[in-house]
């Protein structure tokens, strides 16, 4: 056996990846538990919860998936629903093409593990000072994934027997996105894309309602950004 002691840089990378993942730790444990409980109530036990969280790893899709499983959905319905609910992942991937370009063997896993939360932590392309960027991204993705799986298993096993009220803790996810939005806002003078994202989505929410506004919003954002391309590129 050949052991290599962790270098200072490695240690810092692990530390920083864990540190960045703490907000997701809270959110994923709670949301994962919620999913585990829901799936158990639908008649599918801990192995099903673990398998879904391990292999699908998409929060809102798994919640929708509980309904598909218990409602006996067809294969076609399942495919279409998954495309609708997860279409936004196309956008995450498009904006990570450059960042994930030279990530080597970790690349397939990084792509697989690109959830809303992981994306929001990595999309500004910055990694903490003194860390190995690619390892940082890999560890952060892996930590988040493990919280999600752990939460689902815990939820399935413990059920609703928690001794304290966690009501409202799901706000940690919202807070994560708002902190990320604010940080990106503070880091640039170019606020048009951020405003387009907010306003276009808000408009679509008002027009199409909370069940079906996401796809129109994504199309609207893409259209608006495309129309502004000349202006934005000369500003950059």
């Amino acid at each position: 056996m050949h052991f290599k002691a962790l270098s200072e840089k490695d240690r810092k990378t692990v530390q920083q990846a864990f540190y960045s993942s703490i907000p997701v730790l809270a959110g994923y444990l709670i949301l994962g538990m919620g999913f585990g409980i829901l799936l158990r109530n639908a008649g599918y036990g801990v192995w099903w919860a673990a398998a879904m969280s391990l292999f699908i790893y998409a929060g809102s899709m798994q919640y929708v998936g509980v309904g598909l499983l218990s409602g006996g959905a067809s294969l076609l319905t399942t495919v279409l629903t998954t495309v609708m609910v997860n279409a936004r992942h196309l956008f995450y991937s498009i904006s990570m093409i450059e960042t994930y370009k030279n990530t080597g063997k970790a690349k397939p896993y990084l792509i697989f593990a690109l959830t809303d939360e992981t994306y929001s932590l990595l999309c500004d392309r910055k990694t903490p000072e003194g860390t190995d960027g690619n390892r940082y991204r890999f560890l952060l993705s892996l930590f988040n994934h493990s919280y999600w799986v752990a939460g689902s298993i815990l939820g399935s096993l413990l059920g609703a027997a928690l001794p304290f009220s966690t009501e409202g803790i799901e706000f940690s996810m919202t807070a994560l996105f708002i902190a990320s939005f604010t940080e990106q806002w503070l880091n640039t003078k170019e606020h048009v894309p951020a405003l387009i994202g907010l306003l276009c989505t808000l408009l679509c929410l008002l027009v199409f309602g909370p069940e079906r506004f996401l796809i129109p919003a994504m199309l609207g954002i893409t259209l608006a950004l495309t129309l502004l391309r000349g202006r934005e590129e000369s500003a950059a």
Binding site: S20, I22, P23, A26, Y44, W48, A51, M52, F55, I56, Y57, G65, L68, L69, G72, A73, L75, T78, V83, N86, R88, L90, F91, S93, I94, S95, Y100, F112, D116, D124, T166, E167, G168, I169, F171, T174, A175, L176, F177, I178, A179, F181, T182, E183, Q184, L186, P193, A194, I196, G197, L198, T201, L205, P210, F213, L214, I221, L225, T226, R229
Partner: protein
């Protein structure tokens, strides 16, 4: 068995969506896609913020007051300290306290 098939389907479609842009633009990223890659992150995070708040009702009690205060807390903390963990924790605590007091 049917459940396993559906789960496999959800898994494969999700992986496909995540991988598609990487496979489609493997050798060379067209300038338009590179442009989208640059301007999309702030727009998408904005979209996710709205998405998280989509079920908040302004017209019925508590009139989105907990959400409003908690969001303000996150933004203020982030502007002040630039520490995401601190902002998220303080906003979440504010929200949990408010929502549990109101119930």
């Amino acid at each position: 068995m049917r459940a396993a098939l559906l789960i496999a389907t959800m898994s494969i479609v999700t992986i496909g969506l995540r991988a598609l842009p990487f496979l489609a633009f493997k050798s060379r990223t067209p300038p338009y896609v590179a442009y989208l890659g640059r301007v999309l992150p702030p727009a998408i995070i904005g979209m996710l913020v709205i998405y998280c708040l989509k079920d908040v009702s302004l017209l019925s009690p508590p009139f989105a007051i907990p959400e409003f205060l908690a969001v303000a807390c996150v933004v203020a903390a982030q502007v002040w300290k630039r520490n995401s963990l601190l902002s998220i924790l303080s906003g979440t605590v504010v929200y949990m306290v408010l929502i549990q007091l109101l119930h």
